[in-house]
Amino acid sequence: MKNTFTQSMAWLHTWAGLIFGWLLFAIFVTGTLAVFDKELDHWMQPEIPATEVSQADAAQRAVAYLQAHEPKASNWGISLPTERSPGLRVSTGERRHGGGVQLDPRTGEAIEVRDSVGGNFFFRFHFTLDLPRNWGIFVVGALALVMLAALVTGIVIHKKIFKEFFTFRPNKGQRSWLDFHNASAVLLLPFHLMITYTGLVIFMLIYIPAGVDALFEGDSRAYFQAQGNARQEQPRQLARQPGELVDVAPLLAQAEARLGPIGGLNIRNPNTAGARIEIRPELGNRIALAKGQAMVFDGISGQLLSDVPEWRAAPLTQRVMVGLHFAQFGGYPMRWLYFICGVVSCVMIASGLVLFCVKRGRKYASATAQPSARRWYRVAEVCNVGFVSGLLLACVALLWASRLLPVELVQRESWEVRAFFGTWLLALLHAGVRPARRAWVEQLLLVALLCISLAALGGMADAMRVGVVACAMVLGVLLGLVAWRVRQAASAPQKTRAGRSVEAGA
């Protein structure tokens, strides 16, 4: 492209980084927030109590509720209280996020909980950008691939990667931005490469179905069967005869001994002779993602019908890679490591975006530059503000909306999403009409304010909710410091410019 390999890789890194960096920042921010999706769920629905009820008691109360209200349903779903999700939820029909009835684990009675998209919104946005699922997965996949290319080109062009491993020289304008971008990128390189590649592996067979096409004639059902994942046959005959459900508590104990902490259970064909109890583990006992795995018991006799199979090496490798991305393992200490790494990676991307403008500011922002170049530079500036601080504003606005919107509002979840995108749009417009520096300061200060004052919304009846608010406060203070620094730097540009080059009249 350019004359040398390094130059063309630098060109690719710069332009791919800029154009796709705006959406990549959104993906990384929502991904980082999704690390604590269940905790955010809990905060956004303050009606759910945090209790100390054992899973066995909670399960029995849930079954009693379902017996009383839905004895003839074909499938009962029960989400048990866990460390991250203290609520007890029952549903009928196939499991989806949301839907179903929230129960108080202490009494087994239904409780009214506000409709909310919850922290799950950030999780879904992270891999679909809120587009229809199949489109979104492809768009995000393409962006992840660009991220991979940006990482590799970044490594290739960073000539002094070892010499400048610990180098950060603040207060030197463009040099400092480059130092920071390099330091945050290089020091977290294992994380960046891992999170990007494993993200692609999650849907790799959707993106590149070549193996299934070549070896299974494109028949994905045949492929899944070959993996040993065939769905169990449902006993249709037996399901027509009545039967009495066995007590779930000893089965839970048995499953817990085998699988570790339990996440929930499904009871298929309850109250019939063909009843089946599927007990699934809480994700997190091993790195490999255990989604979809369950121990299946006969619902009448309590006999174990099918155990969780051991994975062979190849599917285990894939599951481990997926698990590394989902970060459901290792308890809260690991979760915090992922979260803080995520925050740093977001700042890394943002610093690259800002560096682009800082580097070209002098050339393209002044009145002597070409008008078309100036216009494009202005576009980059506005997008930087709108997609970085604007996105952060949208995220915190969602949290505020989830508490401020009236509980009885029809289609409450849609309104929460509208608050998110509406705020984002307003931020972009604000960035368009304000000078860049002022826009940065104003938006970052607003985000900081909203984060710090999250506590004012109340509803912090337990430690987890206090934790959410405390973390928001810390992030708010950090963003406030950044805003203050930007404001300080804004009042001192004349000094640095005059000191560096001969400029006729300041």
Binding site: F168, P170, I287, G330, G331, P333, M334, L337, V344
Partner: protein, 110 residues
Amino acid sequence: MMMWVTGGVLFAYAGMLALCQGLERHYKHVWNRPCPRGLRLGLRGVGWLALLVSLLLCAQAWGWAMGPVAWFGSLSLAGMLLVMLLPYWPRLAVGLSAAVPVWGVMLLLA
């Protein structure tokens, strides 16, 4: 578990600090004098050793499957903290390594 996690993070920081101080430019920045060759090599040796100890502590906390994952994360974040502290408060950045012997004492007492 938290004792091992804390130890893993502290040793990661100490290791990164030692490796950093084993480089001329960073040693000079903190102590305002050049670094004698023996000390440089010693610092690097201690640094790698500390990183190894960090790995062992992470494996103690999480097992050998999850431990290395946590170790990489700890190295990266410890390095990040060091890089941000060094230009502003270099003596503090170095002084933080005193948390390691404190942790050691607490481990013996527990």
